[in-house]
Symmetry: C2
Amino acid sequence: MRVLVRELGTYIDEKVMVKGWVHRIRELGGISFVLLRDRTGMVQLVYEGKVGFTQESVLSVEGKVRKNEKAPGGLEIHAEHTEVLAQAHADLPIPVNQEPEKLSLEALLDNRMISIRIPKIRSIFKVQSTILKGFAEYLRQQGFTEIKTSKLIGSGTEGGTGLFSVEYFDTRVYLAQSPQFYKQAMISSGLERVFEIGHAYRAEKHDTPRHLNEYVSLDVEMAFIETEHELMDLEQGILNHIFRLVKEENGEDLDVYKATVPTEEEVNRIPRVTYDEAKEIISREGGKKVFDINPEGERILCDWAVKEHGVDAAFVYAFPRKKRPFYAYPEGQKTRSFDLLFRGLEITTGGRRIHQYEMLLEALPKFGLTPEGLGGYVDIFKYGCPPHGGFAIGLERLTQKILGLANVKEASLFPRDRKRITP
Amino acid sequence: MRVLVRELGTYIDEKVMVKGWVHRIRELGGISFVLLRDRTGMVQLVYEGKVGFTQESVLSVEGKVRKNEKAPGGLEIHAEHTEVLAQAHADLPIPVNQEPEKLSLEALLDNRMISIRIPKIRSIFKVQSTILKGFAEYLRQQGFTEIKTSKLIGSGTEGGTGLFSVEYFDTRVYLAQSPQFYKQAMISSGLERVFEIGHAYRAEKHDTPRHLNEYVSLDVEMAFIETEHELMDLEQGILNHIFRLVKEENGEDLDVYKATVPTEEEVNRIPRVTYDEAKEIISREGGKKVFDINPEGERILCDWAVKEHGVDAAFVYAFPRKKRPFYAYPEGQKTRSFDLLFRGLEITTGGRRIHQYEMLLEALPKFGLTPEGLGGYVDIFKYGCPPHGGFAIGLERLTQKILGLANVKEASLFPRDRKRITP
């Protein structure tokens, strides 16, 4: 029976079998010290003489567990029988037992099949797995149903710009930018509360530390709300649940990034400022008048939130109508929509939507749209749709900000940008 | 405060507010009986005289809860104050308060934005939500990490047939048929045990009750296995967990389809027969010699499993090498791969994979492949990959078979087939 490295402490002076990768080989005075890595940690193996396997080879090793204060983790295994399950070639394209910071982002991504072996990089995706769990778990507790909707759409929605086109038998379809219409259809179906975890696509030529052309969207939609503040409440609940789980399950992963997650108390005091107030704050704090909230402004507003509210995040609501999609619920020249900025980056956009058929028909021409151009979308509202709203959290952006990564691409296993289509 | 229909029993003779859709309006002797539908059920509202709203309109209603044995569910609400949150137009394209069986599949799918309001259809997607939960929950308990990998791939894998192509800036990419290579990369990264829930695409011209061009794949990959039987054990564990949850959480949904899920005892006795044995059984039971296992054969084998083992499912393993992809682990002319048939349909394909670099290089030319044609795939194995294997469960097929649906398209919210690209 294989024993995991994490469990070795209960097998001192006993014989065990461990399996894993050769992280490092060091020869010293006729003894080889081999660091073996499995999914739970690393342990030192001790061999007499030289070893016949290379770094990154996969081993199955039997031997006795001994205490040794000098060994990493305080334990070592005196190897008695070793089976090489896979011998690795010696010409590793990048080192995997060094800090990833010593390599460029390009080198890490070009060699992604290998760079994901670096334990510090694997930590990113362990945290991401917990985010996925926390998001779904909290929403299920609140009576939400998980849905999966098509990523192939027949017509360009939301204006139709920035869509990738797909050859689909004898016709052409597009990759969905968001499940927006489908999640609205589902709340209107009577499910009332739905969420979806799915890929989303933006054919934008951006190449910035905050953009991906393919990302994972954590989408929520909820019926029978009155205002966007109920959505912000819900998002705070989700984030609290995610942060609690990350703290519980990813303590070591946070440590290697010297990262912490906000406490529940901090999340609960995230300030809510209107778009106009936000511009004023940014103008004042940044020392120059702004007419829009750009990435620099997002950082300034978060700095202000730290100073004034002790939390590195801020909700901005009451966005002007012309800055939001046609379906944003109007309130004069403003809308009932919001963003959440977290550690200087917008990680969420959402809001209440128009649910009345007549109001929607009236809004479309203002945005240069026709009911026909939107596929079956307007039918959702023709036949009775409750007041509702929702939002989406970018999975990679949330991961990035939790760990303090410089570039969102680091938080995508196999990122796609304008130039990068492999591996 | 809104009260959900399910909770009304605790409010007898009290005043409550309910919200939902008008499912049916019936006038009788100067009284209008309105059936109101919310996400938890239906309740009868009683109005004096005629009502001013149409079917499918969305209401917020205040009134007293009264016992009435003649009312559906034994309760009714005497409406005192009604707010019409959204008035529905009267020309519903399909009725939503009748059994869906009265409509054709085409009518249901053409009018999907409306047909999802039919409670019996919503049940399908409530069950599907539970399957998603059960799959992830069980695997996390077993130490698996959830991953999200790119659905845009730079080169055609597994031979390159049946791929949809995407215009990607100045080049061309493809929609992934499966996360196969990526999940193998991730187990080799040291995560060892990973799962992914994601969309998969097949550009096949099939239009059968068992095919979709876009579906959701429940993918698993696990390192340090010896044989495919460990994978079958794992799949039985997953299915037991899913079936238990579906029974607990979807009792009513199962009832409306007169469906049941297998017990743990039944799942645990699913027979495992080799491909050659399966052909013999099908030949004998079907009364004519077969040389392959086609859909008819899958049904015959499941019938045999019911008769001989008391369970409507069978694992088939030891598939011939030429019937499996190049990465299937060879065992002479056979492979360590398997299928799971459930209620007459293949819902899973999986197996142990080749993990040795040299063995892989030797296998490729037999399948007309080159290392270069596979992107960075072979690098996974060049640098030490443990013995491993995995499988994928088709979400829609599993949903279909749990509920006994005639066509897999019924188990997809917005199905895509050769002709259907909307809604």
